[in-house]
Amino acid sequence: MPHWLQLMADSLAPLLWAGLVFTIPLTLMSFALGLVLGLITAIARLFGPAPVASIARFYVWIIRGTPLLVQLFVIFYGLPSVGILLDAFPAALIGFTLNIGAYTSEIIRAVISSVPKGQWEAAYSIGMSWRQAMIRTILPQAARVAVPPLSNTFISLVKDTSLAAAITVPELFQAAQRVVATTYEPLILYIEAALIYLALSSVLSTLQVRLERRFARYGGMMEANA
C-alpha cells in the first residue's frame, strides 16, 4: 500500500469520529434551530408591528454584515469578559444558529411572499384563521419553493462548521490538524478532510433532489417535463 493511502487509512477513524460526534450534530442542530429562528424573524418582518420588524431587520443586518469567524470569536473569547462563559460546543451552536437564522429568514420571507394573495383569501373564505392559513395553506406551498435555496444554506453550513475548529471545537477539521501536527503530512490529511466534507455535502444534495421530487408531484413542473 502506498504511503499516502496508508496514512489516510490510519487517520480515517479519528476524522470520521470527529465528524460523527461534532460536525454532524453541530450542523443538524444549528440548522434546525436556525430555521425556527429564521421563520420567526421572517414572520416578524412580514407581519410584525413596526418595532418588532425593526428588531428583526437589525438582527439580520448585524449577522449578515459581520464575518462568521468574528462572530464565533466574540461569543467564545469575547463574552467571558462580561461574565458569560460558554463551552466551545454551545458557543459554536449559538454562533451558527444565529447565522443560519439570519440567512434563512431572507429566504423564508421571499418564499412566503411568493405565494399568491388569492391563496390567503381562499383560506380565509373557508373560515381559517391567520395561523391556520399560514400553517395549512401558505407554508406548505412556500416550502416547495424554499427547498433549493435552503439546501444551499445547509450545504454551506456543513463546510462552515470547520470554522468551529478556531474556537477549539474538536470537529473534523481540527481532528485533521491534530494528525498533521504529529505526522507532518498536511497535503494528504487536509485532502482527506476535504473528501469527507465532499461526501457529507453529496448526501445532502441527494436529499435535496428527493425532496424536490416529492414536492414536484403536485406541481405544474411535472407536467411541463412530461
Binding site: A122, I126, G127, S129, R217, Y218
Partner: protein
C-alpha cells in the same frame, strides 16, 4: 336574509362603494352586474369581509355587524359573518398542494374539526354533486379550468354556508368550460341555494339569477327582477349596458 345597509367602502381617498342598500332573500340568486370598476367584486367581498366596509351595516341570518370608520373590526365578529359564507373565485384558487378531495375537506377538518372520515364522506358527496367524484384524488394542476372551478364550488359548499358568493366564476374559462360551471351553478340554484354572484357573463346571470343589481361607479343604478331588468330596464344607463352586450338576444324567448 342578507341585508346590506348604507354600505360605503373607501380605498384611501377613492370612494368605491357609495351608500349601498340591498336585501337578498334566502333561496334567491342575485347577480351583481355592471361595467368593470363599478364595484361588483368589492361589494361581493364586503359580504364575507375579505374587504371590511368603511361604514354601514351587514346582517346575515341572525348575526349583524356595524362598521364605523377608523374602528378596527374584531376577528370574532368577522368570523361570525364569514363562517356563514362560501366563496368561489375567478381564478379558482384551489390549494395546489392538496388533491381535489383534500381541498373540499380542508374547511371541515381544519376549521370545523370534523373527524377525517366524516369529512371525506361529505366531501365525496359534494364532489358527486359537481360531477367530479372520478377526479377526487387528482392534483388541481392536472385538471381543466372548468373542473377546478367545480371543485372550488364543492369546497365553498362544504361547511354548508348560508350563502354562496361567486366572484366572476366563469370569466377565466372558455365558453365550453364556462357552460359546465353554469350547469353546476344552475343546479344549485334550483335546489334553493342562496347565491350572490358578480359577473360579466350575462348569459350566466340571465340563466340563473332571480334578481339583478346593476352597479356603476360604486352606486346601485337599478335593481329588480332579472327577466324584467334584462328585457325592460327602467334606467337608460342599464338599457345601454345591456344592449351593448346584446344580452336581450340570449334571453330565451
Amino acid at each position: 336574509m342578507i341585508e346590506l345597509t348604507n354600505i360605503e367602502k373607501r380605498f384611501g381617498d377613492a370612494l368605491v362603494l357609495k351608500n349601498i342598500n340591498i336585501r337578498i332573500p334566502e333561496g334567491s340568486v342575485t347577480a351583481l352586474v355592471g361595467p368593470s370598476g363599478g364595484g361588483k367584486s368589492t361589494l361581493l367581498r364586503c359580504i364575507n369581509l375579505l374587504e371590511i366596509p368603511t361604514s354601514g351595516a351587514i346582517r346575515l341570518g341572525t348575526e349583524s355587524l356595524t362598521f364605523v370608520p377608523q374602528q378596527k373590526t374584531s376577528w370574532q365578529s368577522i368570523q361570525k359573518i364569514r363562517r356563514q359564507t362560501g366563496m368561489v373565485f375567478q381564478n379558482f384558487q384551489l390549494f395546489p398542494h392538496q388533491t381535489a378531495i383534500e381541498n373540499v375537506m380542508e374547511g371541515l377538518v381544519t376549521v370545523l374539526k370534523w373527524p377525517t372520515e366524516r369529512a371525506r364522506a361529505k366531501a365525496m358527496e359534494l364532489l358527486k354533486k359537481v360531477g367530479m367524484e372520478a377526479k377526487a384524488d387528482a392534483w388541481p394542476a392536472t385538471l381543466s379550468g372548468g373542473q377546478q372551478q367545480r371543485i372550488a364550488i364543492a369546497r365553498a359548499l362544504a361547511p354548508s354556508p348560508r350563502v354562496l358568493l361567486c366572484d366572476e366564476p366563469t370569466s377565466a374559462l372558455d365558453p365550453e368550460l364556462a357552460a359546465e360551471v353554469v350547469d353546476v351553478l344552475s343546479a344549485l340554484a334550483s335546489e334553493g341555494t342562496t347565491m350572490v354572484m358578480a359577473t360579466h357573463d350575462l348569459r350566466l346571470a340571465s340563466k340563473i339569477a332571480n334578481n339583478v343589481v346593476f352597479l356603476e361607479a360604486g352606486s346601485v343604478v337599478e335593481t329588480g327582477d332579472a327577466r324584467l331588468l334584462f328585457t325592460a330596464p327602467s334606467q337608460e344607463r342599464t338599457r345601454q349596458f345591456i344592449s351593448t352586450i346584446n344580452a336581450a338576444n340570449t334571453y330565451d324567448i
